[in-house]
């Protein structure tokens, strides 16, 4: 659509009328989508699962450089693809200054899943001064008891043998040179399993007790942080909380353009001008609306819209189609509770689910697998034990639905 295209006076009225008509039909449970189209859309929902997405891109024969540029892995310090977050980095620099000046500091960095929290924390290497020692650690498992906490923190500070008591651990930490200690994946600290209460308290106590010497920076997903706040009043112990949000339209535009540029892949020359035009006038607002500014969700739509032309092997761009999340409406209460706890914990194993919901292992397995088959959960095999997490690409949509239905708060 071109800006110069003359618009009828009635166009906005017609659009608004159509929207109202669709909303009314939707209210009565009548879908306005064609059956064949809805089948296509539903299958697209499953394409967002990590394994299937990779296969899908391979089948589409998208260039490797393009996929690399649009990778959703956290960006290393100084990566050219890292954009925005200037004010947040300034706040962090100010906190560093305060700490260097001898003030006790503990910083929490929070944000919704997929907003670029890990990438942001990785940039601290560039923010810390030349003389500062920075230690970056990523939680990969949950502390279920005090011993787990001691083990995790001992590994983090590089002890060969885990500390046996809290005092011993504190001594080791206080013997380290003053450092910036960054802990990512703080959502692993949000654990509702019986017994984990003490483990999390000890974790927090160690951070508080050593803040005079070290600057602790904890990265935590938004819902997990809220949970920590409700139970332990975590916010009171931190001197500052830096809240990251999803990208705004301009930042998303910059992010997409930059990644496209970094990939070195050029779109079909005819299409390039067309895509630029689409991006400017139609596609970008649509992408922004569809993805709510969530980078990996926008990448998914963007890459999904690209097609390799079989004749000239160049990349063409088609329009993005919204995914249909109707599957959420068919879920029963226990499934919604499960999704809510997965959203807060970040990742649940079958054993975690058993302990949380007091079900048998078979019941938990069945429930989690069903949600996986519904394409609402993804499998995370990075740790020793298989875990389930919300499909990262559209975790925000699921969280929003759970909040609206009062399962997540």
């Amino acid at each position: 659509m071109n800006d110069s295209t003359p618009k009828s006076f009635f166009t906005p009225l017609t659009v608004a009328g159509t929207r109202l008509y669709r909303q009314v039909l939707k209210l009565f449970g009548i879908s306005t989508i064609e059956t064949t189209e809805s089948i296509k859309i539903l299958s697209d929902l499953c394409l967002a699962q990590t394994a299937r997405r990779t296969r899908y891109y391979e089948e589409k024969k998208l260039p490797g450089a393009l996929l690399q540029a649009f990778s959703v892995e956290p960006l290393a310090a100084g990566d050219a693809r890292f954009i925005g977050r200037e004010s947040e980095l300034e706040r962090l620099t100010a906190a560093f200054e305060m700490w260097r000046a001898g003030h006790n500091s503990m910083i929490a960095v929070t944000g919704p899943q997929g907003c670029g929290l890990s990438s942001f924390l990785r940039q601290l290497e560039g923010t810390a001064g030349a003389g500062d020692t920075l230690r970056y650690g990523k939680l990969t498992r949950r502390p279920y008891d005090i011993n787990d906490t001691l083990l995790i923190l001992s590994e983090f500070i590089g002890l060969e043998q885990a500390a046996v008591t809290t005092d011993e651990l504190l001594e080791h930490i206080n013997n380290l040179p003053p450092s910036v200690l960054v802990i990512d994946n703080g959502h692993f600290l949000s654990c509702r399993v019986m017994g984990a209460h003490a483990a999390i308290r000890v974790f927090g106590a160690v951070m508080v007790a050593t803040q005079q010497r070290h600057l602790w920076v904890l990265g935590c997903e938004e819902f997990a942080w809220r949970r920590l706040n409700y139970i332990y009043h975590a916010e009171r112990f931190f001197t500052d909380r830096i809240q990251l949000s999803m990208f705004n339209e301009q930042e998303l535009d910059e992010c997409l353009s930059l990644r496209q540029q970094v990939s070195g892949v050029v779109l079909n020359t005819e299409m390039e001008s067309k895509s630029r035009e689409m991006q400017d006038t139609l596609e970008l607002p649509t992408l922004y609306k569809l993805s709510s500014g969530k980078p990996d969700f926008a990448f998914f739509y963007y890459l999904g819209a690209l097609q390799v032309n079989p004749e000239n092997k160049q990349l063409d761009m088609s329009r993005s189609v919204a995914l249909d999340f109707g599957a959420l409406k068919s879920l029963i209460s226990e499934e919604l509770f499960t999704l809510a706890e997965v959203a807060i914990h970040g990742r649940l194993t079958i054993d975690d689910h058993c302990a949380l919901f007091r079900t048998s292992r078979e019941q938990s397995w069945l429930l989690l697998e069903r949600l996986y088959q519904q394409c609402l959960l993804d499998k995370d095999e990075t740790a020793d034990e298989l875990g389930y997490r919300l499909v990262p690409v559209y975790s925000e949509v699921i969280s929003r639905y759970l909040t609206n239905t009062n399962y997540l708060y």
Binding site: F337, R358, T403
Partner: protein, 276 residues
């Protein structure tokens, strides 16, 4: 005079007018069914706001029927003043004599719609019954008890007597779980376990505080009572929360051997629960 009034009445109640009135009544009924259906659909889509939406319908129904009757009288029938006064007088007398209780309930219902002591979806304790308000009619209020019995309560008696509302228009409500333990048990550890059991339950609404109070009581021997106070995420899950907390707590007590501190008190924890 009487003959005149009868003649006027006959003229007023012609077949065409009666048909028109029937159509208006039917349309009003249909309109209300559509509004009700749309509200139910909205509640299904936005369950978080179900109490607020549920509150709207009784008021809409009252206003719609009122407007419908006004339209029938002054728009369709258009009776002469003499007939209006005669009918009103007769109606007043008949209603006054024959339906004192009904009118009282009706007036109470109208008062309750505009100044509600509770709304549809609230958990209410009244006259020995405790349950969810499922319907707020002009003359009666329907409660569904936790045993799934429907109880019909006349509106006038609700206004005349005290009614306890557990959640006052919110989805969360406080659930109190009482657990009796032998007095010899380790109080500190039992209290911590009770607190953790409440926090660990997926039905607990953690935005509001969880408290555990220890009380001493005597029942064929000295006992310790743990009073666990936690908020449930949705009023419909209060039984599930109560049961879940009790189950978690007792299991943790057994796992730590706390219930077998003294053999003479080996009956283990006893539990009861009530809702505030």
């Amino acid at each position: 005079m009487e003959a005149d009034i009868i003649a006027q009445l006959t003229e007023l109640l012609s077949v065409s007018r009666i048909l028109l009135i029937a159509i208006v009544l039917l349309l009003t009924w249909l309109l209300l069914r559509i509004v009700h259906f749309a509200l139910q659909k909205s509640i299904y889509r936005f369950p978080r706001y179900r109490l607020q939406m549920g509150q709207v319908f009784p008021a809409i129904r009252l206003i719609t029927w009122f407007l419908c009757i006004v339209y029938i009288i002054f728009g369709i029938l258009q009776p002469p003043q003499a007939i209006v006064f005669a009918v009103l007088g007769s109606l007043g007398l008949a209603v006054g004599l024959a339906a004192q209780g009904g009118v009282r309930n009706l007036l109470a219902g109208i008062m309750m719609i505009f100044n509600p002591p509770f709304r549809v979806g609230d958990m209410v304790h009244f006259g020995g019954y405790y349950g969810e308000v499922t319907r707020l009619d002009l003359s009666v209020t329907m409660l569904r008890t936790l045993d799934d019995n429907m109880v019909m309560v006349p509106n006038s008696s609700i206004l005349e007597n005290a009614a306890a509302n557990a959640n006052s228009g919110e989805l969360s409500e406080m659930v109190v779980v009482n657990i009796d333990l032998p007095q010899t048990v380790d109080i500190h550890e039992a209290r911590l376990l009770a607190m953790e059991a409440a926090i660990a339950s997926p039905y607990t609404y953690l935005k509001k505080p969880v408290n555990v109070i220890v009380e001493s009581r005597y029942e064929l021997g000295f006992l310790l009572r743990l009073v666990i106070k936690a908020y449930v995420i949705d009023v419909r899950l209060e039984r599930a929360l109560s049961s879940d907390i009790t189950e978690r707590f007792i299991e943790a007590m057994y796992a730590r051997g706390l219930n077998t501190a003294h053999k003479e008190a080996s009956s283990g924890p006893k539990t009861s629960h009530n809702i505030n």
